[in-house]
Symmetry: C2
Subunit: 407 residues, 2 copies
């Protein structure tokens, strides 16, 4: 049996295959970069247009009340909550992942007076490390980076916060959320999980793990659109004592009292800062609803099946590439990353064939398997292209080594 014929059988048996038609997928493209920017749900253009033409154009300022703009950040957050094991009032959609990291790192430092260390790992997604650095420059934090396997022993009495990305952006390696959260708590530290490469592709249970804080990205597996608002989670037990420094008017208990003095809203709304980005929230809401409709347990099952089948196809084509991702699908997110000295050129040659993955400096070819809209046939075809690019040596053509601004 060829990979293509096996793929046809898998697709015929796949209960999620019918969701593919709910997304816009360009002709001639196999899109393996949904972990960088998720595909467009077909319902999104009309939803955005309704907000622009009807709510803004006709409703004008009245739409803050009549169209539910004021509630949008909380409403979208509540729809994200079941995807990550949170209660609806523990999640809010706002700002960027970076900004939300800053709020919650600062909040954690304030909750652990006398401790200043924020512990993370080298090679974590840069913005996570840079936001710690921002507080370090302010003189309020001390950044400590320790290799993954030595994190637990680095949890000493100076550590206020352990900040980790649950699924590594480059390798797809997954941390044990429950175990690391427990270890941090035993050391008296708090934990902040970055779920950017988790949410919408695999299940996590923040509340069962007794996590303290989390953030995540709206434009990857949640399909919220380029630069979509991000989200933030705070466990309910921390709501009352939460103090974060980006105390803008939208996080005030009574923003339209126009008081000179800040008094934070009682719940998760205290994380809001400026005026809510209504257009971005409208697009994000469509993506979140669609992912929630499919269901994150089923998505993870398919994600695992897709990546396992992709590896099987590579074997069938006798492709030998160094796998950077964990070999067991239970240990990784919804991606496979391969190391090759010419990963950049190979990625470009694949794109020229319509297989869009991405390159991560210096030598990683990263292929993401967004389970909501990819098929097993996509896997078979993409693997065949990858095999042909490698065996033909076409990646050595000069045009594939030209570096543009990369994503």
């Amino acid at each position: 049996m060829t990979p293509e014929s096996r793929a046809a059988e898998f697709d015929a048996a796949d209960p999620l295959s019918r969701y593919r038609e709910r997304f816009n997928l360009p002709e001639g493209v196999i899109y393996l970069d949904g972990n960088s920017l998720g595909a467009l749900p077909k319902a999104t253009p009309a939803a955005v247009q309704r907000v622009v033409e009807h709510e803004w154009g006709e409703g004008l300022i009245r739409s803050w009340n009549s169209a539910g703009w004021f509630e949008a950040s909380g409403r979208v957050g509540a729809k994200i909550a079941p995807l990550i094991g949170a209660a609806p009032h523990e999640v809010i959609a706002c700002d960027s992942t970076s900004i939300n990291l800053f709020k919650l790192i600062a909040a954690a430092l304030q909750m652990r007076p006398g401790r200043t260390v924020v512990l993370s790992e080298p090679g974590n997604f840069p913005t996570d490390l840079y936001m710690i650095a921002g507080l370090e420059v302010q003189g309020l934090a001390e950044r400590r980076l320790v290799e993954s396997e030595r994190l637990e022993e680095a949890l000493d009495e100076g550590v206020a916060l352990l900040l980790l990305t649950h699924v590594h952006y480059k390798t797809g390696a997954m941390h044990d959320m429950a175990a690391l959260t427990r270890a941090a708590h035993e050391a008296g530290a708090l934990v902040l999980w970055d779920l950017s490469h988790t949410v919408g592709a695999l299940p996590v249970d923040l509340n069962r793990a007794e996590a303290d804080f989390a953030v995540g990205c709206g434009y990857k597996y949640l399909c919220g659109g380029p630069g979509a608002p991000a989200f933030a989670y705070v466990a309910e037990r921390h709501h009352a004592g939460l103090a974060q420094p980006l105390t803008g008017w939208f996080g005030h208990a009574a923003p339209f009292a126009f008081s000179d003095d800040y008094a934070g809203a009682p719940g998760i709304e205290r994380l809001l800062c400026g005026t809510a980005p209504v257009l971005g929230l409208a697009a994000l809401e469509v993506g979140v609803e669609l992912i929630a409709e499919i269901g994150v347990e089923r998505l993870f099952g398919k994600s695992q099946a897709l990546s396992e089948f992709f590896l099987e196809c590579l074997m069938a084509h006798d492709v030998k590439l160094e796998l950077v991702s964990p070999p067991r699908s239970d240990d990784r997110g919804s991606q496979l990353s391969f190391r090759h000295a010419n990963a950049y050129e190979i990625c470009q040659a694949l794109i020229a064939r319509g297989v869009i993955g991405d390159f991560r400096d210096p030598d990683v070819l990263r292929l993401g398997f967004a389970p909501a809209y990819l098929s097993f046939a996509d896997m078979a075809v993409a693997a065949r292209h990858l095999a042909e690019v490698l065996t033909s040596g076409e990646w050595q053509r000069p045009e594939f080594s030209l570096r543009a601004a990369v994503t």
Copy 2:
């Protein structure tokens, strides 16, 4: 001559009257709240749709390069620059006004070691005061609020930054930017101007005033849509030494090198933090281009003529209301505010008649005159409605005192 017939003459002679058709204005509405949320440019829906359906839907991740998404923050900033007397490379569109305030207050404190006071005035727009408070809670700033007329004498050797809103959100009173900037500099302090109620309605010249920093709002006179990205200005002379704590990956000199260590971009891009909000920037760009096409000098001229004519109409109807705004149009922004114990109810009664202004706690009726799309006829009709609401006493109907979430 009735106010209506005078209005018809003014409109016939108004060189800006033809721009009204470039905006969507709902039937039966006279919109005097463009200083809260600007009207929808008719070109915006197609521009947003192009980004959603074509750039995102078809281009996917490739559009960061091919559709110019990476450059959008700087490109939109450069288009805002001529409206505020800045050079194109001194302005960038990103985040919210609140977030941008935090960045620049923190940057100023870092540039004035040994000084911790941020000076502002009570009753400034709340988020400006709250963002100082955020840094105060971090132990990095000391907020000092002094009445407007005593600001200059409060500029002592402890003041790192003077933070003022150029046009007051509630009263429309305008500060003398050049004089206050000079006074602050003589005292060794820096100056940050909030241009939220200025940009797109009246001209300012940041560079001629030798201002240091500025921020402003994208969703008022710039017509960028609800929750549009804001902008920030940093005078070129401060670029090299600028350090701000929201050091996200989009502000890195080489974001796709994925280094563990932050190194800020050399220019204004150092103010970027998270991934750019592409949908919001697309809508904002349309509004900015249209306002720039009309020209801010002409807009201010019309703004003054509109408000003067509105006052004349009120006189013709023998309406006596306490004017909170400065009586001379050279001393105020593009609005008129009136004090009345029942301002809330009067505002609601006007809205019921299709005249949308807004209420500002506790007793101010605020009417904004967005000069890009309002006519002199609007002034005559709105003034007549206001006169009728007051003389009929219809504002006393019980339904007009019901308080919803207000804007």
